[in-house]
């Protein structure tokens, strides 16, 4: 596996910046510039690059869609949130038509925010493409078809040009798919969700979203430590603060940055990616969250090797 590309990182519902958000960023940038002039574009770019990410960028608002770029020609994608739309466009732009491709799509669960991008995933309309949708829910095919039926969507599922196959996987059973061993794990979420551990000869990536963790269940803790064990990258549902996750939002099926750090530290994982961002959080709040999470890792590290903390954003590319 070469790299991971984040096409959609928001939880529950896609969001967009408002005019007020954009205005605040412009004001912050101009305030930081404090009357400076820039003689060249390069000088301007250098100034912009040193601004905080919440000023010069945005975490984005598309819902869950993550690409794992493997060593072979076949494509690996986790979830079909609204981030599947730009992903599909990028694939068409890269490979053109006709140029048949095989896409392996791993679905964590059947809630709408994780499926809604599929009707907008352009490769599904291109004859010659092969799309294999992997998952552990028996209603996987039914759910995909359901959202592409009148009156939900104008284009019926039958209009798909690609050959679409469904692969019902078994939790805890590794399956060898196009050069990568993929192991699903059942997670606590309404209607169940499944995390996936992707292992190649040299790298391990874990995709674990929409997963609540029971803090009073040591056996569950140990299971996830094993699932994350020595991973190069763990993509983790950090939607809520720990206080929210165990109190007002208990049983809502999500986790926190604190639990992500603890599990990754216990599992000796190398990098933790905060993912499935709360839709009500703006860029400033998400930037604060990742800074606090880095501090938490630092003060609880002890004699362990450092755990790198990253907050996912739409368009982020992480080499493995």
């Amino acid at each position: 596996m070469k790299r991971v590309i984040f096409w959609g990182t928001r939880g529950s519902l896609p969001v967009a910046l408002t005019h007020r958000d954009i205005r605040d960023k412009i004001v912050a940038a101009l305030t930081a510039a404090n009357g400076k002039t820039f003689k060249t574009r390069q000088a301007l770019d250098e100034f912009v690059d040193q601004l905080p990410f919440a000023v010069n960028g945005t975490f984005g608002g598309d819902s869950a869609c993550v690409e794992i770029v493997g060593d072979g020609p076949e494509h690996f994608i986790c979830d079909m949130g609204s981030g599947a739309r730009p992903l599909g466009q990028a694939k068409i732009a890269q490979y053109g038509v006709p140029n048949p491709q095989t896409y392996h799509i791993f679905i964590s669960h059947l809630h709408w925010d994780h499926l809604m991008g599929f009707p907008y995933f352009a490769p599904m309309y291109i004859p010659g493409n092969r799309i294999v949708i992997h998952g552990c829910h028996p209603q996987l095919e039914e759910s995909i078809r359901l959202q592409m039926q009148a009156p939900c969507f104008p284009v019926d599922y039958a209009q798909a040009g690609a050959r679409i196959e469904f692969d019902l996987m078994t939790p805890d059973k590794p399956q060898y798919i196009a050069g990568i061993n993929v192991t699903p794990k059942k997670q606590l979420h309404a209607g169940d969700s499944y995390g996936y551990r992707f292992e190649s000869l040299e790298r391990t990536v874990v995709y674990s979203t929409d997963s609540e963790h029971r803090l009073d269940d040591p056996a569950e803790h140990d299971e996830f430590v094993a699932f994350f064990a020595k991973a190069d990258l763990v993509i983790f549902d950090a939607m809520y603060s720990l206080a929210e996750a165990v109190s007002v939002k208990a049983d809502w099926g999500h986790s926190s940055n604190v639990v992500g750090v603890e599990l990754c530290q216990a599992a000796a994982a190398k990098r933790l990616v905060l993912f499935h961002h709360e839709p009500v959080h703006d860029d400033k709040q998400l930037a604060r969250l990742v800074a606090e999470t880095r501090r938490l890792e630092q003060i609880t590290r002890g004699i362990r090797a450092p755990l790198e903390i990253i907050s996912a954003y739409d368009g982020l590319i992480l080499p493995l």
Partner: protein, 115 residues
């Protein structure tokens, strides 16, 4: 887990020490439960003296949330005091400082909660 107690200004002070990690949190719950039985209306407030705690995990924080919730249901008063700086940071990062009453020191807690 041993939780020594003492009374100060009409408040039951419970001394907690060591690391409250995933393993210790179960023992922490067991040790705390009998004390929480008495954390009710008409009984002295309970303040956990955290000056001896140098680490607390999410599981330990959950124990505190459950204790606070139980005390509230029993119309009792439950608080934590004298957190070490790093533990205080963990409380802030996890937002537990917003759901469990925390005081700078045992004296400060007694001043507010005591008779």
């Amino acid at each position: 887990m041993n939780l020594p107690t003492r009374e100060q200004a009409g408040v039951l002070i419970v001394s907690v020490s060591g690391r409250i990690d995933h393993v210790a949190s179960e023992e922490f719950t067991k040790a705390l439960n009998p004390l929480l039985d008495r954390c009710a209306q008409g009984h002295p407030p309970i303040v956990l003296d955290f000056s001896g705690v140098d680490y607390i995990s999410s599981a330990g924080l959950r124990v505190l949330m459950m204790a606070s919730r139980r005390a509230k249901a029993q119309m009792g008063t439950f608080a934590i005091a004298a957190l070490q700086p790093l533990v205080q940071e963990v409380f802030a990062i996890s937002r537990f400082n917003l759901i469990v009453p925390c005081y700078q020191s045992v004296d400060a807690a007694c001043k507010v909660l005591g008779a």
